[in-house]
């Protein structure tokens, strides 16, 4: 792989890939390729070493057991921490979002997270299942967030992060805010997958990764129709 190639890593698809999160990698790779950016994707299984030199890291949703195991292995491996320290961009979804925090709950016990986001997660009274919608932090300059959430956890944000969005439908972190961001790390509960429903977030990750202020626009006719339909559906629910 050359220095001019954009490298995208999907973290532990063998443990965390329950909700179509592979889609986030496919969409990033395609949106890069359509702009002529050479791109390589890597699916790193939990029995492999985590490379520290990729540009974008993706981690997805999963069940309690695999979530706890993934956190242990990522802490022991250290590659992801080095990558983040070197400025890699990250999209962490659902169980993957929780494990980026200081701690999370899995299988009835508190587990240590990667401590890469100033968040901690515990159990909610009820499971949050359904359409989620929110107004994204204006500093990111993105249109509203849409996704499908399915989680039992509630996430509490510390002063070291900002909410990714203010919830206008659904639950997100706690019924008020959804997701978190700090530096080039984005966390969200949104499946759909997230980048299929929110191509602007995909482009933000690409801009962060290649250090560009803007990217050539793409024909997002179908994504826009999907967004319009889902944003309206969340409002009606």
């Amino acid at each position: 792989m050359s220095e001019s190639t954009l490298r995208i890593v999907w973290i532990y698809p063998d443990l965390l890939s329950t909700y179509g999160d592979r889609g986030n990698m496919l969409i990033l790779a395609r949106r890069a390729a359509l702009r002529g950016i050479p791109v390589e994707t890597y699916s790193i299984r939990s029995d492999q070493a985590m490379p520290a030199t990729a540009d974008i890291y993706l981690i997805g949703g999963g069940e309690d057991g695999p979530q706890a195991l993934a956190a242990q292995r990522l802490i022991a491996d250290g590659g992801l921490h080095r990558a983040v320290a070197q400025g890699a961009a990250v999209l962490a979804v659902c169980a993957g979002y929780q494990l980026f925090g200081a701690s999370f709950f899995a299988k009835g016990a508190q587990c240590a997270g990667l401590d890469l986001l100033d968040i901690r997660s515990d159990r909610g009274e009820t499971r949050a299942v359904g359409e989620v919608r929110g107004d994204i932090d204006p500093r990111l300059g993105l249109p509203p967030l849409t996704g499908f959430e399915n989680h039992g956890g509630r996430t509490h944000l510390g002063p070291g992060v900002a909410p990714l969005a203010r919830v206008t439908a659904g639950i997100g972190n706690d019924g008020q805010t959804e997701g978190a961001w700090h530096g080039k790390i984005l966390g969200t509960y949104a499946h759909g997958p997230a980048l299929a429903r929110n191509p602007a977030i995909a482009d933000l990750l690409l801009r962060w990764a290649i250090g560009a202020d803007s990217l050539a626009p793409l024909d997002d006719t179908w994504a826009d129709r999907l967004r319009g339909e889902r944003l309206a559906a969340a409002g009606a629910a």
């Binding site: 179509g20 969409i27 999907l226």
Partner: protein, 420 residues
Amino acid sequence: MSVSGTLVAVTDGKLPLRAKVATSVSRTAAALSRAAGRGDGSVIGGWIGLKIDPDLLRNLAAGRAIALVSGTNGKTTTTRFAAAALGVLGPVATNSFGANMPTGHTSALAKAGATPFAVLEVDEHYLARVIEETHPRVVALLNLSRDQLDRAKEVAMMAQMWRTALAAHPDVHVVANADDPMVVWSAVNTGQVTWFSAGQRWTDDSWVCPECGSPINRAQGDWWCTGCPLRRPQAQWTVEDDGVLDPRGDWHLVKLQLPGHVNLGNAATALAVAAEFGVRPIEAVPRLASVASVAGRYAQVDRDGRNIRLLLAKNPASWLEAFDMAEVAPTLLSINARDPDGFDTSWLYDVDFSPLRGRPVLITGDRAYDLAVRLEVNEVPFRHVKTFDEAIRATPPGRLEVIANYTAFQDIRAELDRVN
């Protein structure tokens, strides 16, 4: 091993009074439901019957020799095949409309009256309860994979439920898929197992050993755990070319009306089930060939010069099978996300749609836009149509393959006048 002669025939006269009343009410309700056009009556009758007599299923099952068929995919078709094969021995009760929960089983048995045999399709969540209530002779386990992400239990948890249920009933003979590690793990400790091999296209739910958590390795149809002794057992029934190899080493040509390699696997499973009741493959095979469609699935309908074939695909594993079955012809995909489908469409990204490249693809359904975005990423050109009629008009005369998920399939079936 033929058992039909030793069976005590079930008759309504031997049912307890409460069960008799419940059976009669159940049949009446089912007939009324059909007459009122509220469905095929396969659930409502059982629901009312069980309200009157909670033991009705147990009572109706007593004295029959029963096979249960469960798994994520293929259970409706395999049930139909197994019922056809057991028909060699005598009348067989079966829930042929796919009503696969206890109310559906109750309705099916009540409606069939006294039959020496029954073959029942069982929703995988209900297998433990239905084993408990029907005391089956044989349980067939087909496969376990992700289905309805926002509601269903995870695959490993389902395998654990099966394992516990089977361990409690060592007298049940299990017919199980050697190619699916989750199925093997759920069945491997039970008393009597016949293994079949039908291949497994979908492997994304069994990368990790359910016994020890180590990675599972695969090569040339074989699989083994890298951390414990769990590995693929030797199969007694195997799909080979366009036929099935039986435990004696005899190969039987299996000519089916239903398409695809997956249905050959379902046929092999049905032959293995029937063999447990004493039916020889040579007797059963011609009966499998008589099955033309299953609750509308695989049905072919001629409309305006188009030969329309309906394929149901409910989850990632069955989408892959549908692409294998479909001819290279114009193909309509339809996706809904209503209650029976599951509300989350993320699974679309678990399916590789690239086999559709090179075919004219049309999309429709409540969630056509999700499909549109997915196909764009997958570089599959498509055209969006708003109705089924528009799809027909957009297609040249000849074959039109229709692949749809559950409620989308029912919608299209209704448009085609509830084809069977």
